[in-house]
């Protein structure tokens, strides 16, 4: 399994995500700089990490969405490649149109940073196959702009096509329908605000994030 982790100026979860990919996939991921125009050959999954890309200027993820490498990530996704966007990475995926909707300022204005329970909504994806539908997992969140918004048509499609991957068990940021993570139409792109890479080691507050990375590895192994 070969992963690539995209690094923007201001990314700060890139190393954690690389550690998680390596822990489960056995290989050191390729760290890919935002100015690169293409992904290295033979990449199985691209991780777009959390952080404050370009200082969150204009809107979170807006500048990173225009980076040369983001175009390459969009092409990779369009060809069926797997992409995992976490937190600021999720914002980059919505700003670039790879995933629908937008992430707005938290309804309570405050930056929310704590482990939160998530409802596992679907197991029909390469990211959630090892989880149990209807179960709860605890994953940390750390964001100021995680309030998911989509128009009614998009929201209905996401629900109708079983593309909501995770919901907050209780409302923490005003997200429509308590959405914490969504899948692309082909189910091979996952964007989520919570940080599964911060919940994989016994020294973390929990290890519930491990099932997401193990799901990714099993799906790649059987592909």
């Amino acid at each position: 399994m070969r992963a690539a982790v995209i690094v923007f100026p201001g990314s700060n979860c890139d190393r954690d995500l690389a550690v998680a990919f390596e822990a489960f996939g056995g290989q050191k991921p390729a760290m890919v700089w935002h100015k690169d125009t293409e992904l290295p050959a033979g990449i199985d999954i691209v991780g777009v990490p959390g952080g404050f890309s370009h200082g969150d200027y204009l809107r979170c993820g807006a500048i990173a969405a225009q980076a040369p490498i983001t175009r390459a990530v969009a092409d990779f996704a369009a060809k069926g490649g797997m992409v995992l966007g976490i937190c600021n990475g999720f914002q980059v995926l919505t700003e670039s149109g790879i995933l629908p909707g937008a992430l707005m300022r938290n309804a309570g204005i405050k930056f929310v940073c704590k482990p939160v329970p998530l409802d596992v909504v679907t197991t029909d994806s390469p990211f959630t196959a090892d989880l149990e539908a209807g179960s709860q997992i605890e994953i940390p969140v750390s964001h100021h702009d995680g309030n998911y918004f989509a128009d009614t048509e998009v929201l209905a499609r996401l629900k109708g096509e079983d593309r909501v991957a995770f919901r907050y068990a209780t409302d923490i940021n005003g997200s429509m329908d308590r959405i914490a993570g969504i899948l692309s139409e082909n189910r091979r792109v996952l964007g989520m605000m919570p940080h599964p890479e911060r919940a994989i080691d016994p020294l973390h507050s929990g290890t519930d994030g491990a099932a997401i990375f193990s799901s990714i590895m099993s799906s790649l192994a059987t592909a």
């Binding site: 204009l58 809107r59 807006a62 225009q66 919505t94 700003e95 629908p100 909707g101 937008a102 707005m104 300022r105 938290n106 309804a107 309570g108 204005i109 309030n147 918004f149 989509a150 128009d151 005003g174």
Partner: protein, 79 residues
Amino acid sequence: MKATVHVMLKQGVLDPQGEAVRHALGTLGFDGVEGVRQGKIIELDLTGEDRDAAHDQVTRMCEKLLANTVIESYRIEIA
């Protein structure tokens, strides 16, 4: 030529920051403020002379980068 772009959250999209400002104004004793919406203004200095062309160009900038049209609307002034 100067272009000014006003970017606001669309009507119907909750503006928590505007709400917080409204609340703070009430705390300060300013009565009768029913609603506050907060947006941003972006000023662009343009070298061209053609106003229509500038308007077209800035519209494309808004659609591509300056506004997120999922949640925001924009208005362009050319002066």
